[in-house]
């Protein structure tokens, strides 16, 4: 099973779940008591988890910005109307 398969479950993780697991991966890597193979696997999973979290946050931020801009645009429109 290639690394990509092993980490394909991450896409379905909630943000909190991904974040929690990332914390554990970092902890176990820092403990260093794992084999090379496990470390590589952990490292790959850590990367995938971090990317997933950033994906969640990026989406949230862009939605927020869109909403605020839309509101701004709407306000501008009504201001224009009121001028």
């Amino acid at each position: 099973m290639t690394a990509k398969d092993k980490n394909s479950d991450i896409a379905s993780l909630s943000y909190e779940a991904a974040r929690e697991e990332l914390v554990q991966v970092v902890a176990s890597l820092e403990a260093g008591s794992v084999t090379l193979e496990e470390s590589m696997a952990l490292w790959e999973r850590g990367e995938a988890l971090a990317a997933r979290c950033e994906e969640w946050l990026g989406a949230a931020r862009s939605k927020l910005n869109a909403a605020i801009e839309a509101k701004g645009a709407a306000a501008a429109k009504t201001d224009a109307k009121n001028d």
Binding site: E30, S39, L64
Partner: protein
């Protein structure tokens, strides 16, 4: 119905008879004329003469006897104790001719437009086919009567439970039905104040009279019309201040019952703070003035919008804070060496491997050297033990085929196979 002009004109043949009849009627005596038998059959082939018809009508009319009625005086004429007039229904276009010869029964100073209560006796005159109402007693409806009647109506409404049911008003009305006088102050107050609070509010205004006896039916019609209108979800009845008499219509039973019967909430905004028509009791909300009605029916949407804006802004701020907080947390995790610089642990493992390999080699080298040493040593030993040098000097070693060395000639028999090892090579021989 006999028209007024013919009645009010010259000497009226019927009036004389009226006097005579009145005396008999009160006594309930039989009819003066011995009219034909009233129960005669009637058909196309046996038509009645008019006299029978009139007798029949007179019979029915006389049965009515004396009746108390209420109405509004109009077209008043006559003098020196005689009075001719019309009596109009207070709400519906109905009128009767009334007359009186007995001044005693009349309150003095009755005039056009007075609201009166009268005791009358309907009379039918067979001779001229006229129907008229003889007035026994008539007087204006005084203030006391009005108040008394309003009070009774109020009690009646309460007794029927029409004053308890208070429907809630819609928070944001889709369309407000407004019943008020045309271009009245009340109309301006309601519309202006409502629009101040909610520019997009929409109204359906129905203009009606707001005082006098024709007002009631118009108001009732307006209430029904707006109540039936699917778009309207609240109705306001508004009128500015006015004298007691002016506000009477809002204590009219018809109007009050129409208001009580609406399916939609209805707001009464009549006169000023201290005016309290019966309409107030049955309305779902009693506003003290038209302006107050606008304020209580229309929420201050401008204010609501501001609060809404603030709420949304707060939501956005807290969302932003949360997202940036999480972003820095993830960034911090990412910056941890194990993730940021994965080569670290690979390198450290790599170093372990190198180190181990290195020590492996060194150890191996040592072993190798030792091996070489022992080999040389063994080689010299072998060489020193080996007879080679002796053979080189010309000696040889004789052995039996089985390899055993022969050192005593006496042991050898003739024909014995022998193997002779020289410095270089070996010879097979047989002993002689």
């Amino acid at each position: 119905m006999s028209s007024m002009s013919s009645w009010g004109g010259g000497a009226n043949s019927g009036s004389g008879e009226g006097l005579a009849n009145r005396a008999d009627a009160s006594a309930g005596a039989a009819l003066p004329e011995d009219g034909p038998n009233p129960s005669r059959s009637n058909s196309r082939s046996e038509p009645w003469p008019i006299s029978t018809l009139n007798a029949k009508i007179k019979g029915y009319v006389d049965k009515l006897g004396y009746i108390w009625v209420e109405g509004e005086l109009a077209k008043v004429s006559g003098g020196n104790g005689r009075l001719f007039a019309e009596l109009r229904d207070l709400q519906i276009e109905n009128v009767v001719q009334v007359h009186s010869w007995n001044p005693a029964g009349l309150e003095p100073g009755l005039a056009q437009g007075d609201r009166v209560v009268a005791l009358i006796k309907p009379e039918f005159w067979p001779k001229n086919g006229k129907l008229s109402m003889g007035i026994q007693e008539m007087r204006k409806v005084g203030l006391g009567d009005l108040l008394e009647r309003i009070h009774r109506l109020r009690m009646q409404m309460a007794a029927e439970g029409l004053t308890q049911v208070k429907q809630p008003l819609p928070f944001l009305p889709n369309c407000i039905g407004l019943i008020t006088g045309k271009d009245s102050d009340a109309e301006k107050d309601v519309l202006q104040n409502a629009r101040l609070r909610w520019p997009e509010v929409n109204f359906k205004v129905v203009h009606t009279l707001v005082q006098g006896e024709k007002a009631a039916p118009q108001i009732i019609a307006a209430i029904k019309q707006l109540d039936a209108d699917p778009e309207v979800d609240v109705i306001i009845v508004a009128r500015g201040g006015g004298a007691f008499g002016d506000l009477l219509v809002f204590s009219d039973e018809g109007v009050v019952r129409a208001a009580a019967a609406t399916t939609k909430p209805i707001v009464s905004a009549i006169g000023h703070e201290n005016d309290n028509p019966v309409l107030d009791d049955v309305a779902d909300l009693r506003a003290s003035t038209p302006t107050d009605a606008a304020k209580r029916v229309v929420p201050d949407v401008v204010d609501e919008r501001r609060k809404l804006g603030e709420a949304i802004a707060r939501i956005e701020r807290s969302m932003m804070a949360f997202v940036s907080g999480q972003e820095s947390f993830i960034a911090q995790l990412r910056s941890r060496p194990v993730l940021a610089n994965p080569y670290a642990f690979v390198d450290s493992l790599n170093e372990d491997v190198l180190r181990t390999r290195q020590s492996l080699r060194e150890r191996f080298a040592v072993l190798l050297d030792q091996g070489v040493l022992t080999l040389d040593h063994l080689k010299t030993q072998v060489r020193s033990l080996s007879p080679q040098q002796t053979l080189d000097r010309g000696y040889s070693v004789v052995r039996k085929p089985d390899g055993s060395v022969i050192s005593d000639a006496s042991n050898v028999k003739s024909g014995q196979k022998l193997a002779i090892r020289l410095a270089k090579g070996e010879i097979d021989a047989t002993a002689d």
